[in-house]
Symmetry: C2
DNA sequence: GACTTAATAAAATGTTTGTTTTATTATTAA
DNA sequence: TTAATAATAAAACAAACATTTTATTAAGTC
């Protein structure tokens, strides 16, 4: 019938995630991706359709590889423990050596020409995280881990704001070292 | 002697601030700047030296125009009131219609090819804000506005992380509306 | 082994980029 | 008025960009 592919889609995606995550959509060139993935230009357009669509596939892959596992505790066992686990993972991840922030949120800073479909993905992730936080906070409140007077919705936004702050904090040597302490304070402030 | 300039340096800088703030260093083209400022290519290179140096001049101008006024209260009257004023201004600013985040922090997201001098400016601002926060928090503690047991340094990082979160929060319609609420919560959490 | 199909390699395309160069214009001192 | 100086306007430059096209190669079916 026809010639067999020399590349493996998942391997290619994994490598593309690294490059796109480090340099962003506009900051990554197709030539760079060709170099990093090993496949040639024609095959890349054949497989992914174009730069933007390639990036969208990369966002999806990054979500499955990195974000889904982090959010799992809040999915399976909503409550204060799940939130603590999530924040701990986030903090730990943001402290790692070559941290490049959040591949989704990175699209919100510095550029105003981000394609609509990309912004939609960013928004989807934000909404999902907010809902998970709110659900876990509500459960925590019912369990008595959080004072009855507080509003889970408002509290979820509060935590969400910190999380977004962490994605920037982790990018400067100055702030990196402060992350564990900040996460600790946030967790404690939930109980007040 | 020679021909007189047809442009005013400050006016040009003001307009360049808008463009660079909205699209970032890499996302702004010299042609775009020529269009927005009115002066031609040659004059631009004559006056500013090149894209990167132009951007550095823009950072300085943005600091003088926007950041210095916001930080003034913490400079002149360190204390809880100054912090509240600063956070209020920040929150208000981040809620405005065409908010483009922090022109300094925007350099930390999405790209890894930011010139060294730019990163230095970003770091300088971060350090300054941290010091101002720490000083105000220490004063607030001595005035009895903040419990004696808390560490002003750690607290300053906590507030700093939150502020960085705000610069991303203000960029999505979903989170914009939550800003006044989260700022309120932060202010209250300082007193616990 | 010839034919078909699709995956490659490599060159080419047309646009945009930051920057430089050449020509022209306006201003003042002599 | 002329000469000198520097600000403009406009063209030119090489490099990088995303994408398309043309040749070439490998694989399975008849």
């Amino acid at each position: 019938m026809s010639r067999t592919k020399e590349y493996d889609r998942e391997t290619v995606l994994r490598r593309a995630v690294q490059v796109f995550w480090a340099h962003g959509l506009a900051g990554t060139s197709m030539a760079q991706l060709v170099r990093a993935t090993g496949l040639n230009t024609a095959s890349m357009y054949q497989e992914f359709g174009g730069k933007e669509q390639f990036y969208l596939a990369v966002l999806e892959a990054a979500y499955q590889m990195v974000y889904a596992p982090m959010l799992e505790p809040m999915h399976k066992q909503p409550g204060l423990v799940a939130i603590k686990l999530y924040l701990g993972k986030m903090g730990e991840y943001a402290t790692c050596k070559d941290y490049c922030g959040c591949i989704f949120l990175n699209n919100l800073a510095g550029r105003n020409d981000v394609p609509e479909p990309v912004l939609r993905q960013v928004d989807d992730l934000c909404r999902q995280i907010h809902q998970l936080l709110e659900r876990s906070l509500t459960a925590a409140q019912q369990a008595g881990d959080i004072p009855a007077g507080r509003d889970p919705k408002a509290l979820a936004s509060y935590v969400g704001c910190f999380i977004q702050g962490l994605t920037l904090f982790g990018r400067t040597a100055r702030h990196k070292s402060q992350i564990p302490g900040v996460v600790d304070q946030l967790v404690k402030s939930l109980a007040h």
